[in-house]
């Protein structure tokens, strides 16, 4: 029975079904949607197929989808949901037509609404304000008019105004994506295991448990899946090594400690489709012979932790976790652990240390697959890696290997943020060029600006300059361009970004996050940081560039873990591609982009100033005062904190930023 006592897919159809948690039926998963399988009864069959239809199409074909994920909630989705609930019944639409889902990754549309009525094509509305909800709903449901929608997300049915509204699949942002692992994002209700199963969930686990663990590893090997957490290590090999260890106790861990600034695809995936991640983890546990799994999730992403926790509880309630899973004699349970937050915890050995209640990483080898959590063999995989495992186990390795390049198969999710028109999380086949992703899918930089560089891989990655935008996104090509694939965060920078400042920013991040255990990282990154600060303050010398290069190499080669090993990448890659900007800071004492505050000045143009005093009133530092003689306002450079408030607030644009 469902939580409210009503019948749902997880319930038994009639007294003939003998499935129980103690004696689980081996066909439990398939039976949910195709059943009944152990007896033949048309009534039971109809019950199930009707329910699947209800879940997929809504009551009588009415559906209103509202996305509830961290980002859309912040953009106001809860208020939109309230507004929808308020009017829905007065429009004659059943109230259970309203369905909360995860996020599609089209963040620039947040909060969005998707509407569907029988006989009408589904329509997607972007940037919805609560006050507009009633109007939108009326127009769509009563007048059957889709004009004003962002796109039509399906090609069935007829509606007025259709000609002006594009179909989602015609738009670059959707057409060029391959939604393999993210297929359920924005489609299913992430808090419902029933929804997941109606959309084919846990089929991968069902299939895996029908194979031997070796066969599962072989299947993953054939798919060519490589880790999506950064390093791109072949997933099957990690599993095989762990499986071959003689230890009785083994562990598998999901690394959901996503800490790269600018990367949120793991959060999005786990918030929108948590069961897929869990399913992958159970399969991994089966393949390596583990009895316990852990989900290590960042405390700063509370909704992701909450949804994963809920998924674990639901799975346990239905015997998908626990003893004798699906009647195949496999025991496995999962615990969710909240990370206390430190970037280095994403590193495997530091992650293990954190679960054990300690801090700091250790030397590898031995690798965790041999000596891991509490000294036992442990496999650690990224959220997306495991979600891929669940998907490819359900669909067969061929479905995965059909995408990608010779050396890197499949698809990968990327988050494109920064100076682009369409920020969001997009899934593309590996080998897609940066240009396609940044210019076509994300829409390129805003009108009148010029794309300068693309930062990929976060603090461990590098900056790829605009002229290398045709680089295909795969592990090897990106390495050659001085960047890394990393976890998939891509920050696009236009001509308002200063590359020295960017290098300094990432180095400051590393200085704060370095655990301090080994000195090349602890001291080296501080030297890099101080040198970069000197340059951004206009006090740099040409010698400093050599210091950056030589210290950078030492940090890269001598650090204990990959945090330090990759830390100089942002510095070295900007030095390689944007040396002229460093020289402008050092020789001309200028920051061409007008970012480095020590090198810029705010000044009030006395010819334009009308003496209204708005700037003085709003200056947080009290740095602006009236010059009694002229009646105009002036900025005290000593007190100015360069926040730029006066520029935006001046009614006559009299404040100028001088670089």
């Amino acid at each position: 029975m469902g939580d409210d006592g009503s019948w749902n897919l997880m319930s038994r159809c009639c007294g003939k079904c003998w499935h129980s948690l103690e004696y689980p039926c081996r066909n439990y998963i398939r039976c949910r949607t195709e059943g009944p399988l152990c007896h033949d009864d048309q009534r039971c069959r109809t019950l199930r197929s009707e329910r699947v239809r209800y879940i997929k199409e809504g009551p009588n074909g009415y559906r209103i989808k509202v996305p509830l994920a961290s980002c859309s909630i912040a953009a106001g989705a809860k208020e939109v949901l309230d507004a929808v609930k308020e009017v829905v019944e007065s429009l004659g639409i059943p109230s259970d037509a309203v369905k909360t889902v995860g996020c599609t990754g089209l963040c620039y549309l947040d909060p969005w609404l998707e509407l569907k009525a029988p006989g009408m094509p589904a329509a997607l509305y972007g940037n919805v304000k609560p006050a507009e909800v009633e109007g939108i709903l009326k127009k769509y449901f009563i007048e059957n008019d889709v004009s004003g929608a962002y796109a039509i997300s399906e090609r069935t049915g007829k509606a007025r105004g259709e000609g002006d509204v594009p179909t989602l699949s015609e738009l670059d942002v959707w057409r060029l994506q391959v939604r393999y692992v993210s297929r359920n994002c924005g489609v299913v209700n992430p808090e419902s295991i029933e929804d997941y199963i109606a959309y084919g969930g846990y089929r991968g686990l069902d299939r895996a448990l029908r194979m031997s663990p070796e066969e599962v590893i072989e299947e993953v090997k054939k798919s060519g899946l490589r880790g999506r957490g950064g390093a791109g290590f072949p997933t099957w090999l990690k599993w095989r090594i762990c499986r071959n260890q003689p230890s009785k106790e083994k562990y598998v861990i999901v690394n959901a400690d996503e800490g790269d600034p600018g990367a949120f695809m793991n959060r999005l995936l786990a918030e929108s489709d948590p069961h897929r991640v869990l399913e992958g983890l159970i399969i991994a546990g089966y393949a390596v012979g583990a009895t316990k799994g852990f989900i290590f999730v960042r405390a700063e992403k509370p909704l992701m932790a909450e949804r994963l926790q809920k998924a674990v509880e639901e799975a346990r309630k239905h015997g998908i976790l626990g003893k004798n899973i699906l009647g195949r004699g496999f025991d496995f349970d999962v615990e969710v652990i909240l990370s206390a937050g430190a970037f280095v915890c994403g590193e495997e050995t530091a992650l293990i240390a954190a679960i054990e209640g300690r801090a700091t990483p250790r030397q590898r080898p031995p690798y965790p697959a041999v000596v891991g959590l509490w000294g036992k063999p442990t496999v650690i995989n990224n959220v997306e890696t495991l979600a891929h495992v669940a998907t490819l186990m359900a669909e067969g390795w061929e479905s995965f290997a059909a995408y990608g390049t010779e050396r890197s198969k499949g698809t990968k999710m990327f988050c494109v943020t920064g100076a682009v028109k369409r920020t969001g999380a997009y899934e593309v086949p590996i080998g897609t060029t940066l240009r396609t992703l940044v210019e076509k899918i994300a829409g390129g930089v805003k009108e009148g600006r010029k794309l300068k560089a693309v930062q990929i891989g976060g603090p461990s990655g590098g900056c790829v300059p605009a002229h290398l935008l045709d680089t295909p996104i795969d592990y090897e090509s990106l390495r050659d361009a001085g960047a890394i694939m990393g976890s998939g965060g891509i920050v696009v920078m236009d001509d308002t970004a200063c590359m020295v400042d960017v290098a300094r920013y990432f180095t400051s991040f590393i200085v704060a996050e370095s655990c301090g255990k080994c000195f090349p990282c602890r001291i080296g990154t501080k030297i890099l940081y101080d040198t970069l600060t000197k340059i951004t303050e206009g006090k740099g010398t040409l010698e400093d560039l050599e210091i950056l290069e030589s210290v950078g190499r030492v940090v890269r080669d001598a650090s204990l873990c990959a945090l330090g090993g990759t830390a100089p990448n942002p510095v070295l890659s900007t030095l390689r591609h944007f040396r002229d900007e460093y020289l402008a800071h050092i020789i001309d004492k200028k920051c061409p982009a007008g970012v480095c505050t020590k090198l810029l000045k705010y000044r009030i143009n006395p010819d334009k100033c009308v003496g209204c005093g708005t700037c003085a009133k709003h200056c947080p530092a009290g740095a602006i005062s009236k010059d009694e003689k002229s009646g105009k306002y002036v900025i005290d450079q000593e007190k100015c904190v360069k926040c730029g408030t006066c520029v935006t607030i001046c009614p006559v644009n009299a404040v100028v930023k001088e670089v």
Binding site: A75, C107, G262, A299, L338, A342, I355, G357, P620
Partner: protein, 176 residues
């Protein structure tokens, strides 16, 4: 008598809480982080007394507890304000102006150098790591001291920060 004593609720000082939390996790060293998380979720920070009691209960040196408490960003060793304003210092937010917002906010609230809380104890200003909502950059999250209330704001400017401050001052006045 012992029975009677049990009925009288022990005053929950940080030390008493730490004692209970340690007992709850069987005084096992490996649960140290979780114990600290639990203490912080009550007080919004880790009171010194609690740390000392934890060290005692686990029979480990206080420095070892402090190593963990200072290593992880989540933990605070000083009492924060009623509301903690966390400014994301992730890449997208950095590029879109949160560094300037941070300077603005500290100056606007008159927070003294080396401190992070206003002298009236109402607001704390902290730098935070990426919230994963980069598409709304620059992002600010306001949380109450006990963490029960949290709200995220996107597209933050100095003008918007003023409104956020006013909103929370009003909220506090209403509560009092």
């Amino acid at each position: 008598m012992a029975q009677l004593l049990k009925l009288i609720p022990r005053e929950t000082t940080p030390g008493a809480l730490a004692h209970d939390v340690a007992a709850k996790y069987g005084r096992e060293r490996r649960y140290l982080i979780r114990m600290l998380q639990e203490i912080q979720s009550t007080y919004g920070y880790l009171p010194q007394e609690a740390l000392r009691v934890i060290a005692n209960e686990l029979r480990i040196p206080l420095t070892e507890v402090l190593t963990v408490a200072t290593f992880y960003h989540q933990f605070r060793l000083e009492k924060p304000g009623e509301f903690i304003i966390m400014l994301c210092m992730g890449t997208a937010c950095h590029l879109r102006g949160n560094a300037a917002n941070y300077e603005f906010l500290r100056t606007y609230l008159g927070i003294k150098p080396g401190r992070s809380t206003t002298s009236d104890g109402v607001f704390s200003v902290e730098k935070a790591r990426c919230f994963g909502c980069c598409s709304l950059a620059p992002v600010v999250m306001v949380v109450s001291r006990d963490g029960s209330y949290r709200k995220l704001y996107g597209g933050v400017t100095p003008a918007k920060l003023r409104r956020i401050i006013a909103e929370h001052r009003a909220k506090l006045a209403k509560k009092r």
